[in-house]
Symmetry: C2
Subunit: 226 residues, 2 copies
């Protein structure tokens, strides 16, 4: 089944990582894939554009089916491979509702992380504190919302309770980016720090860890966010 799947992905892209986590959790290791270089703008190559007119990754194929929105791909994967691997969307209504809510809500953390990061990428040596401060404050508030959710769960390991779900496929890449950019979660958001370590150690996270996170040291762009 994994042989019918092909994924174009970029290292460190949150949306790509969501799909990669879901693939591993569904027992689909060994899927076909191609790492594209953002630096070489390979996401705008002919090869990608013919499958994904927006020229973005993830670009995901299952047989002749193409899905390019990460949220769509992971819902599709869970639905199509329901009986195998980790159950990413539970069937019990209350649990299902919470998983769907946190899955979609995680876009808030991804967006606020992305906004700040893109500002740093675009403005490198010319950082305007008047622009950056409100972005940092927004991100801090957002991080504390997720810290609060975990605290409320009172010791459960994952963001929608005691089991790993679709919501973790989406939340974890954004949390890992915080750490990558120098947020000390253990100090500023200890429940999130514990969460990070728990998910980081899962085989799915290890198998899909962004290569450039391993090859270069963590950054300090977010060091004073929290």
């Amino acid at each position: 089944m994994a042989s019918e799947i092909f994924l174009y992905w970029g290292s460190g892209s949150g949306p790509c990582w969501r799909v990669m986590l879901a693939l591993e959790e569904k027992g689909l290791s060994g899927y076909g894939n191609k790492l594209i270089s953002f630096d070489k703008t390979e996401h705008k190559s002919e090869e990608i554009l013919k499958l994904n007119p927006r020229g973005q990754v993830p670009t995901f194929k299952h047989g002749n089916i193409v899905i390019n929105e990460s949220m769509a791909a992971i819902v599709y994967l869970e639905d199509t491979f329901k009986g195998q691997g980790t159950e990413l969307i539970p069937s019990e209504p209350t649990k299902k509702a919470l998983v769907l809510q946190r899955t979609m809500e995680s876009n808030n953390l991804a967006e606020k992380t992305g906004k700040l990061l893109y500002y740093f990428f675009r403005n490198k040596d010319n950082i305007d504190e008047a622009v950056v401060s409100p972005l940092k404050a927004d991100l801090k508030d957002e991080v504390l919302i997720w810290e609060g959710y975990l605290k409320e769960l009172g010791g459960d390991s994952f963001i929608a309770g005691k089991d790993f779900t679709l919501a973790d496929c989406c939340l974890f890449p954004a949390v890992a980016m915080l750490v990558r950019q120098g947020v000390d979660l253990d100090k500023s958001a200890p429940n999130l720090g514990k969460y990070y370590k728990t998910v980081k150690d899962r085989p799915s996270a290890q198998a899909s860890w962004p290569p450039h996170f391993k090859e270069s040291p963590n950054q300090d762009r977010f060091k004073d966010v929290m």
Copy 2:
């Protein structure tokens, strides 16, 4: 069943309208609801905040289950009321994939419409063409992507084929906002113009039409977008 459902909503909010369309299509007319006023910042009221800490609408309840992300609420509704009303996510894999793809992808149109609109709201009499022009160009490109999808379908009525689906619950509110803001779709994107008229006439759209769209004339903020 509709009696167990309650929705807080705002007139003209795309995310609210998605949920309202899905509720009507699933045969859940008559659900409990409260129209909140954005002008009076009622979305930040105690009543909403205790259910939705982000202070946003939609705020959706089904019994004791609360879901506040529109995409999560509509996936939950389809799954929970699978056997009744319109089938919003088909089970055939190719069709399902396209519906999920277009559902999530519709966020692009919603975001580009929203960005331009918020700029106009915030800057009323002080519009900077240097800011507004690229936002308009982005929106135009986006509208043409959706026009292209409909053209490719070659006469099908809805955005994922011949049947109304979840993707239409999400796309239609953004298309209706274009018309509301003065885009002449018949002239600039005729397939989208036809789509608008088809969905507009559905009982679900009529039942959920934003009251202030009916009570005040269309605007011309987007008149030169296309």
